[in-house]
Symmetry: C2
Subunit: 273 residues, 2 copies
């Protein structure tokens, strides 16, 4: 498989068509199907499909799923007021992990578990997708290892986050990690607007320039100890306060230059019917 070089503004999606999973290049309202993938190489098959008719999947399946956790001061301060407790500002880009099992595609429902207390919040995040194997890379060269950027919703059950020893069910229950709609290359990750809407009303707005540690700093720090691999994702945290989502709601997270990650919210009772 030879790698065709895309221009600097490629938009990669992944989709299921008649039971076959393919990567494709989004060009306006049309998707050019490819044989292969953006990580190991591909060729265009010549098949084009209307974007609106495709069942989009998460735009990649990460071998390892990294997350910044706390990475914006206003979000930490909001957490301090809620808990009435000190949360130290991170002094180094110590990364965390989320579970692959929780990833869910664009337009798929976020399912509120039957056992939930109902205190389930959205968290809009910019997501960096690694394009090439990275080990011992400097901050200056770190972004050369990024294929592009997508959007994540780090759905969080706040009661469980307080009660449990770990964030396993608070952050990693099935469907709690919507990601998509596609991977956009050619963006500057240090100056992107992230907007969260619930049922059409803006509930959260911030710019990625407010990150405590930026994407290049995370990649360089991780790669001192760990080999980042093609398809790995780094979720970069949310800013400010967050609020509840409930069955019947629709959450949309938009980043100009990427697009909108949209997911409806349902209850487990409905999901199992």
């Amino acid at each position: 498989m030879t790698t065709t070089k895309e221009g600097p503004h490629a938009r990669w999606c992944r989709y299921n068509h008649d039971g076959i999973v393919s990567f494709g290049l989004v060009d306006g309202a049309t998707v050019d199907e490819v044989d292969g993938d953006p990580f190991t190489g591909y060729t265009r098959t010549g098949v084009q499909r209307p974007l609106a008719e495709l069942q989009l999947l998460t735009p990649c399946v990460p071998p390892t799923f990294y997350c910044a956790g706390l990475n914006y001061k206003a979000h930490i301060e909001w957490g301090e007021r809620r808990r009435n407790a000190r949360i130290p500002i991170p002094e180094r880009p110590d990364i965390s992990y989320r579970a692959q099992s929780a990833l869910t595609p664009p337009n798929s429902p976020i399912v509120i578990p039957a056992a939930s207390t109902g205190e389930v919040h959205y968290e809009g995040e910019l997501v960096a997708v690694i394009g090439r194997t990275a080990r011992h890379v400097s901050q200056a060269e770190a972004l050369d290892y990024v294929l592009g950027y997508t959007i994540g919703n780090d759905v969080s059950e706040r009661t469980w986050a307080r009660q449990d020893r770990t964030l396993w069910r608070a952050k990693n229950s099935d469907t709690f990690k919507p990601m998509g709609p596609w991977i956009q290359s050619g963006l500057d990750p240090t100056n992107l607007d992230v907007t969260v809407k619930v049922n059409g009303s803006v509930v959260s707005e911030f710019n990625t320039s407010a990150m405590i540690f930026n994407v290049a700093e995370y990649i360089s720090a991780i790669s001192e100890y760990i080999t980042l691999r093609p398809g790995d994702v780094i979720w970069t945290g949310t800013d400010g306060g967050t609020d509840r989502i409930a069955p019947g709601d629709v959450v949309e997270i938009s980043v100009p230059g990427i697009g909108t990650l949209r997911n409806p919210v349902i209850s487990e009772a409905v999901a199992s019917q």
Copy 2:
């Protein structure tokens, strides 16, 4: 692909032969190659290879990598003495995660990072490998979803574990998660002896009956919120104290009925030569 049913004591390995990765059934000193895998179905190819000549890989590549973390009282008490601080006994089976990127095969070196303080410890663990999709399963039926058991070494840099906000480099630096040598079915996970030797001397011995939460309790609890998938692994924690390993050492973790996971230890300087 039709699934051939193995007897209750199958021993599954995964290996690289001339650049081709296959699963195989270990029968004494011989491996029967299969086409397919133990999770989605397989057929025996009729090819047999001497076990001693194969380059074993981790016996599976988990979609999600679960770990119990603290799951034995004597290990928690040891940690309390070391840190001179209270570590609460877990009250519920709250699971944690490790990184797929850290997995390393039997006989491959554990590489001590150049930046390490040298306080790198072994941790011998029993590992359960999920065989079938599990959601909302009771404790009574939980072990029916296990393909078998293997061995893990939860290598830990204790200085970084104390210094960092998360366990990312303390527990997940490259090569810090040796797993193998193979997956053994037909075992009772509640009564297995785990023995760790460094350079031939026993340094740790415990029985899995001392787990705070056993494998069935973890599977049932996780599956209330999360879909466990074929190939997922659950590392079940270590008991008692642990100690340093250093370049030049050889670590062997043995469980009668499974076998021995053996890994040499080297320094990053040597690894990069």
